[in-house]
């Protein structure tokens, strides 16, 4: 029998990330993101990162540190109003920013996870954010063709994992985390607690273990 061990340290997990990677990070505002994994990335020499996330935290706080550290090459997300550093960096030509309507962003990440390369959505038809995208009519309404959003690495925040990597979440800290867990080549989950296999209710597991490569235990309060 071969032992199946997904748990590792934050350092071991982050050592798997490469400069230039596309990294998805779960969370909404400064809530529900994988804090210790993000800390470790900000303390690393990783650079030229494409960060795929709802927002970029606040100036110098949470995901905002990636930008202050100069680790960002590009951002893909939908709401950077909470962190004016982003507009400043973009206007200065320091980073590329791709805005996607939040629902299309969420669905695009799911699409990557479930092998859908592209789908149609009504959000943004005719607006600046649909510029250059194909459109088509279905049942008399116009829709925009949107692409799946893939990543090399997903850093997700969950509440509990079993040792095999099944995940459950906590309240609105669920947000994009389960979607990102499906959409990356390497998925690392940061959790508050690791429980024995069989302890999580099979009906309530949100992310089945086949989507999860590594689990790290959050230790800071």
């Amino acid at each position: 029998m071969i032992l199946d061990e997904k748990t590792c340290t934050v350092a071991e997990a982050v050592a798997k990330i490469r400069s230039g990677d596309r990294i998805m990070v779960g969370g909404f505002g400064n809530s529900g993101y994988p804090e210790e994994l993000v800390d470790a990335v900000t303390e690393s020499a990783l650079k030229d990162l494409t960060i795929i996330s709802n927002d970029l935290g606040s100036p110098g706080i949470g995901l905002g540190r990636f930008l202050i550290n100069g680790q960002v090459k590009a951002l893909i997300g939908n709401y950077y109003n909470w962190n004016p550093d982003v507009a400043a960096a973009k206007n200065a030509g320091a980073i590329a920013v791709t805005l996607v309507p939040q629902g299309t962003f969420a669905e695009g990440i799911r699409a990557a996870g479930v092998g859908i390369p592209a789908f149609y959505a009504a959000a943004g038809v005719g607006t600046d954010l649909a510029a250059g995208k194909k459109t088509a009519q279905f049942d008399g309404r116009e829709y925009v063709l949107e692409r799946a959003i893939h990543a090399d690495v997903a850093l997700v925040r969950a509440y509990k994992a079993d040792r095999r990597g099944n995940l459950v979440y906590y309240k609105t800290a669920r947000n994009f985390n389960p979607l990102m867990a499906m959409a990356a080549r390497l998925t690392i989950a940061e959790v508050d607690e690791i429980v024995p296999v069989g302890e999580l209710d099979p009906e309530c597991i949100v992310t089945p273990h086949l989507f999860v490569d590594n689990v790290v235990l959050k230790v800071k309060p």
């Binding site: 982003v86 009504a122 309240k171 994009f176």
Partner: protein, 226 residues
């Protein structure tokens, strides 16, 4: 803003009127409230069959959390701590926007920079500004069954926000169904803007001087409850 309505009353008047709009329908409703004035609408809803959805993954959002209630991992889409209500549930962002995009949300209440006379809404960006974000605005105006705009009648420097044609980048075309300002209630019918209620502080002639958009006046024009 105009001087007609005291500043501190503008938001509450708008929010109360919108809450009344929903409650008067006397049916089960699922509603998404945007950041700012729209969030205040929750304070005036007294109905157990109106359910609030937050696009960050919750149905059955309760009141704003205070003191010991605050849980940093339980927030609304404006990053404010909120409470649970009985029967609430959590889900991921794809499911959340599935509710919105799939037509399961009866109404969204949003703020706006401009609404034009065909119902176009501009509320996501002021180009070359310090802000860069769309959030769920485009998904919400395209997906919610009813789009309600809550905004002061004029901007802070007195410019009309109900305009002929949006000058700012548009969030959605012909998506506005109802606009509530402190001075009146406007409904869109076949892409025409119709005034249905007017505030006591002003008359139609006066309202036209602070409104750039052409609007029709409903034959049954009524006083706006304040």
């Amino acid at each position: 803003m105009t001087d007609l309505v005291p500043n501190e009353q503008v938001k509450t008047r708008i929010a109360r009127r919108i809450a009344h709009e929903f409650m008067s329908q006397r049916r089960r409703m699922f509603i998404n409230l945007g950041v700012g004035t729209p969030t205040l609408v929750a304070n005036y809803i007294r109905d157990e069959i109106i359910f609030l959805q937050a696009e960050n993954g919750m149905l059955g959002v309760g009141s704003r959390a205070t003191g010991d209630q605050v849980d940093p991992l339980l927030i609304n889409a404006g990053r404010e701590p909120v409470t649970e209500t009985p029967g609430c549930c959590y889900f991921d962002s794809a499911t959340s926007f599935g509710m919105i995009r799939g037509g399961h949300i009866d109404a969204t209440v949003i703020g706006a920079f401009e609404v034009d006379e065909t119902g176009n809404i501009a509320n996501w960006i002021i180009p070359n500004g310090r802000q860069l974000g769309v959030g769920g605005a485009m998904d919400l105006v395209a997906g919610a069954r009813q789009v309600v705009v809550a905004m002061p009648h004029t901007s802070s420097n007195g410019k009309p926000k109900l305009v002929r044609t949006c000058s700012l980048p548009v969030t959605g075309y012909h998506e506005a169904d109802l606009v509530v300002t402190e001075l009146g209630v406007f409904r869109f019918r076949d892409q025409r803007m119709v005034l249905t209620e007017i505030a006591p502080e002003i008359d139609v002639a006066g309202l036209k001087t602070v409104t750039e958009a052409d609007f029709e006046v409903d034959p049954g024009l009524r006083p706006m409850p304040v």
